[in-house]
Every structure is written in C-alpha cells, then in structure tokens.
C-alpha cells in the first residue's frame, strides 16, 4: 500500500511556497483555517491573510475586489459553505468578472464522516459546473493537489478545487498534471472506468479485480472536470464497450453528467454511474459511508459487470 496523505496538507504547504515566490498571493478563510490548512500561510505571511469569520458571502465578494486590484486570491472553507452559501457571489462577483480567484474547498463529499449531512457537500461540482469561466479540478491525491495549486496560481481566471477531509492514498504511475487533460492509469479494451478524487484509487483497485475475471478495464483519471477532456472520453467510448463513471458526489450534475453530455453528442455508449443517488449524507465513519452509499471498489466492479451485460 502506498503512503497516505491529507490533500489539504499538500494545499497548505503549496500555499506557503507560492507565498514566497509571489507577493501578490493573498489568502482568505472563514474561521476554518486550521481545517483547510490555510493557517500555514497565515503564520508565514500574516499581512496577506484575512480571516473573515463565519461569513462566506462577504469573503467571496471581497475576493473579487482584491482580484480587481491585481491580487491572486486563494479562498478556502469547507466545500459546503464555499459553493452553497456563496454561490451568487461566486457567479456574479467572481466568475462574471473572470477574476483571479482560486476557491480551494476542503471537506467535500460524504467522507466528511461523523459531522453528517449538513456538512457533506455532494452537489458542489454540479453547482460550480453550471457557471461560465470557472475551471474545476478534483485531485486524486496529495501530489496531484500540489500540482493543481501551482497550476491554478499561474493560470488566469477563477478555479474551484475540491479537496477532502481524509487522507488520500498516493496513486502510482500518475502522468504529469496538465490542466484539462485526463490520463489513462491502466489501459484496457472491454470497459472504461472514469474517476476523480478519492474514487480514482477505488477505480484502480476495481480494474485489478476485473482483470482476474478476464475483464480488461481502462482506468482514466479525470482530475479536471471543467474544461473536460472530451477527446479521451470519446476515444474510450469508441474503443471499449461501455463506461462506469465514479465520483464521491451526486450522480446529478457532476463528472458522470459531464461525461454523459460528451458521449451523447459524440459517441453514444452505455454509461453507468457510481455516485450518490438522490440522497443526503449522514453521520458515520468515512469507510462506513463509502459502503452505505455504494462507492466501494466492489460497487465499481459490479457496475462494470453490469455495463458489459447485454
């Protein structure tokens, strides 16, 4: 088993490095700087860190004002509050102006765990995806998080970067991170498994199990949900017999919906979803919730088998 790291640790450390390189980097948080790890930046650069207290709408609209004066602004809180509470501010003040605001939200998905449904953002990708100009990245582990943060800092315009609460196992054989380009982790010809974030690890494991059943699965890491890598998805749709899309998110409006849009318009194929199906989350340990909401390696394996059934 590979090493496990918090993606938010990778974020906090990357911020400090960026802060040293670029005096224009400013970081905002809403009373969660310990959890999101922006406190590392706050400690290193107190003059460029602002804590807004529990007031996300103000934080996001203020980020637009800062960006209008040439700052590159990283804004952090939990995914639930960043995207849900401040959606209008993100749409109208940040994205409509196409400002350099990088929203890096931690604690996305049901693996928030014991805190339960009110804190488990499972629709954040959907509501961010509907906004023009914004780019969306869901890194699969700590190194990819680091690459994402550095890329976002030097890429103009708004970003939504989705991180989790729990430790992520580092994925082996990753390709170099390129914004908007997915990559094949495991090649295969029978079925395609597309995943993002924490689900990438389960997808890789599922491919191994399927291999033992003589099913050859292609595993694709789609870290960038917007702009989506249409080419790699269409190619997979043409070269394999069907697709499983996995995300720790509602099946409505997330990666599966994005992939489905591409496939429907270009190369229709059977697509099944591993995700949260019209339910709220609940309290429990992260690994229990992954089982309860049918997001496990085994669930991916079974879904892949169903894709291949006539």
């Amino acid at each position: 088993m590979s090493e496990m790291f918090y993606t938010r640790d990778a974020y906090g450390e990357a911020l400090v490095e960026l802060g040293k390189q670029d005096p224009n980097i400013v970081v905002l948080d809403a009373d969660l700087s310990s959890s999101t790890r922006t406190k590392l930046f706050a400690k290193a650069f107190p003059g460029r860190f602002f804590n807004f207290g529990v007031a996300e709408q103000n934080m996001l609209a203020t980020s637009a004002g800062l960006a209008s004066c040439g700052k590159t602004v990283f804004v952090s809180t939990f995914a639930m509050f960043a995207t849900g509470r401040a959606w209008d501010q993100i749409r109208n003040s940040v994205c409509y102006n196409n400002f350099n605001v990088k929203i890096v939200a931690s604690h996305a998905g049901i693996t928030v765990g014991e805190d339960g449904a009110s804190h488990q953002a499972i629709e954040d990708i959907a509501i961010m995806r509907s906004i023009p100009n914004i780019k969306i990245v869901v890194p699969c582990d700590a190194p990819e998080t680091r690459d994402t943060i550095f890329t976002a800092a030097k890429t103009p315009g708004p970003f939504y970067i989705r991180l989790g609460r729990t430790k992520f196992e580092t994925i082996e054989n990753k390709k170099k991170f390129k914004l908007g380009e997915g990559y094949v982790l495991e090649d295969g010809k029978d079925v395609t498994i597309i995943a993002c974030g924490i689900m990438v690890k389960y997808a890789v494991d599922a491919a191994k199990i399927l291999k033992n059943e003589n099913i050859s699965a292609r595993v694709i890491n789609i870290h960038t949900i917007k702009p989506l890598d249409a080419e790699i998805i269409i190619k997979a749709a043409k070269e394999t017999k069907g697709m499983v899309v996995c995300e720790e998110h509602s099946v409505a409006g997330g990666l599966a919906s994005a992939a489905d849009d591409i496939i429907l318009e270009n190369s229709p194929t059977k697509l099944l979803r591993v995700g949260i199906k019209n339910r709220y989350g609940q309290s429990g340990r992260p690994e229990e919730l992954i089982k309860e909401y049918k997001l496990t390696t085994q669930d991916i394996v079974e879904t892949a088998r169903r894709v291949l059934q006539k």
């Binding site: 003059g47 602002f50 709408q57 103000n58 004002g65 209008s68 209008d88 109208n92 409509y96 102006n97």
Partner: protein
C-alpha cells in the same frame, strides 16, 4: 445633519449645472433604451456628480491606473447615472449612451467590465460593499493612498451580505473606504419604512464600527463637505447617509414608485427635459 464648510459659489453652481446635464442624459438614455431605472439614478445624481467632478481622484485617459481612487456601484441597476458621469468625464463618447441596453453594447443593463471606467460588474444586490472592501484591503496591503467609494441603495442594505461586509470593514480598520447610501426611502414594492424598516440607521452603522455622516443628498455643499470629512476619519470606515428624493429633478417622477424601473415615454421625456432645462 452635517456642519457645512464654505465652498466658492462658482464651484457649487458649476456642479449644480453639471448635475442637471447628467439628469438630462439619464432621461434621454432611458427614453431611447425603452427600459431601465430612472428613480434611483436621479436620486443619486448629485452624489455621483460631486464624486466624479470633485472628490474622486481619477484620470479618464488612464482608467486602470493603480493609484486611482476606486468607485464601485453596488446598486447596479442605477448604472445610467454612472454611464452619464463616465461619458461626461471622457471615458467614452457621449454618443455611446444611446446604445444603452442594446445587443452588443458596451453599456449593459447592469454594470459590466466591457464599459471603460467600470472595473467590476455589479447588479446582484448586497455584494458591492464587499467588493469595495476588497479594493480597500488591497490598497492597505500595497501601501497606496487611494480611497474607495461605494454607492449603495437603501433597499439593498436589507441584504445580509452588506452587514457581513460592514462588520469586516470596521474590523480591518478600513478608513480608506467610504460608503454612500442613497436613502431615497423607496424600493420596488413601496416605501422602505413599510417594506423593511432600516431605522435607526445611524445607530446601526455606528454600532457596526462605522463613522456615519448624515446629509441632504441634493445639497452640493453638504455632499462636498461629507466627502471632505470622511477623508479625515482614521481607523474606521465612513458612510455618507444621503437623504434623497427618488426621481429627483423631474416633478412627475419624484417619489413615484412606478419610476423605479420604468423608462419615460417619448412624451414624458420631453416633459422631463423641459423641467431640466438650464435656468439663466
């Protein structure tokens, strides 16, 4: 009410004339467009005229200068008054005003960055004070001496986001931030006092750590004095609470809710322009 300073008579008269001209431009622009918001544009005309032709440090030839004072229109629907003062200042030709709200125009129905002189879009109420706060924080960080002005509507401050921004601006001691409240006491559905009362308004802002300055928002000397006084306040943000009349300057629009968001007809335009003629 504010204790007024003495300003040269000529300065006052020039600004009054300018304001009347801005009002004429607003009426013509809206009549041509066939839709838009005259009420709040006319109530804030004297404030905007004094700002752009006296208080604000800006250079239309260099609209992105990092040292310029910032202005942000939080009540975006009143952009006709902003467009008029921008055009009159020389940010773009006056002729562009007649394209308001047309497809492809640089003058959108609510402020947009495609307009020369507009650096941040607005329109969804309640966010502008936060945007201005961001500009003020950037100025402090960069050790610049520019000031940030933000015009808000009275109905607008019913939004919770405004009070989050109010709390933060005093917390961060943004004395380079000056909010202007166009307190015309009407919103779309009727009187502000009836819909959602804002009083005691001075106390509310003071309790949030602000320095309130109450003025007659149509008295040029009041307005100039308020901008001057706000510049002297240290360690806290200022808010100019300007008592105004919705639709000011056009008798049949004054305090008429219908003209919050209805453009004048051809006939109404003629009547309004007659009333807004320069008097000699």
């Amino acid at each position: 009410m504010i204790k007024c300073k003495d300003y040269p008579e000529k300065q006052i008269k020039d600004l009054e004339d300018k304001a009347r001209e801005i009002r004429r431009l607003i009426i013509k622009m809206l009549a041509k467009a066939g839709s838009g918001h005259p009420g709040g544009s006319l109530s804030s005309t004297d404030l905007m005229t004094c700002l752009y032709f006296s208080a604000l440090r800006h250079d239309p030839k260099n609209p992105n200068s990092p040292d310029r004072d910032r202005f942000h229109l939080s009540k975006g629907h009143c952009c006709p008054v902003w467009y008029a003062v921008l055009a009159k200042s020389g940010y773009f030709p006056i002729d562009k005003l007649w394209t308001l709200r047309e497809l492809g125009s640089v003058l959108q129905g609510h402020p947009d960055r495609r307009t020369p002189g507009v650096s941040v879009a607005s329109g969804s109420l309640g966010q502008g004070l936060s945007v201005a706060l961001g500009m003020a924080l950037a100025g402090k960080m960069d050790k610049k001496d520019y000031r940030v002005y933000c015009l808000m509507g009275d109905g607008e401050i019913q939004e919770g986001n405004v009070w989050e921004a109010a709390m933060a601006a005093s917390h961060f001691k943004c004395d380079n931030l000056c909010a202007i409240l166009d307190y015309n006491r009407y919103q779309i559905d009727g009187k502000v006092d009836d819909i959602m009362n804002l009083e005691p308004i001075q106390d509310r802002w003071r309790s949030f750590g602000w320095y309130p300055i109450e003025i007659d928002g149509h008295n040029i000397a009041h307005i100039l004095s308020a901008f001057d006084e706000a510049k002297t306040i240290k360690e806290k943000p200022s808010i100019i609470i300007a008592h105004t009349i919705k639709g000011k300057g056009v008798s049949f629009m004054e305090n008429v809710v219908d003209f919050h968001g209805r453009a004048p007809t051809k006939e109404e335009e003629q009547k309004a322009l007659e009333e807004l003629k320069d008097r000699e």
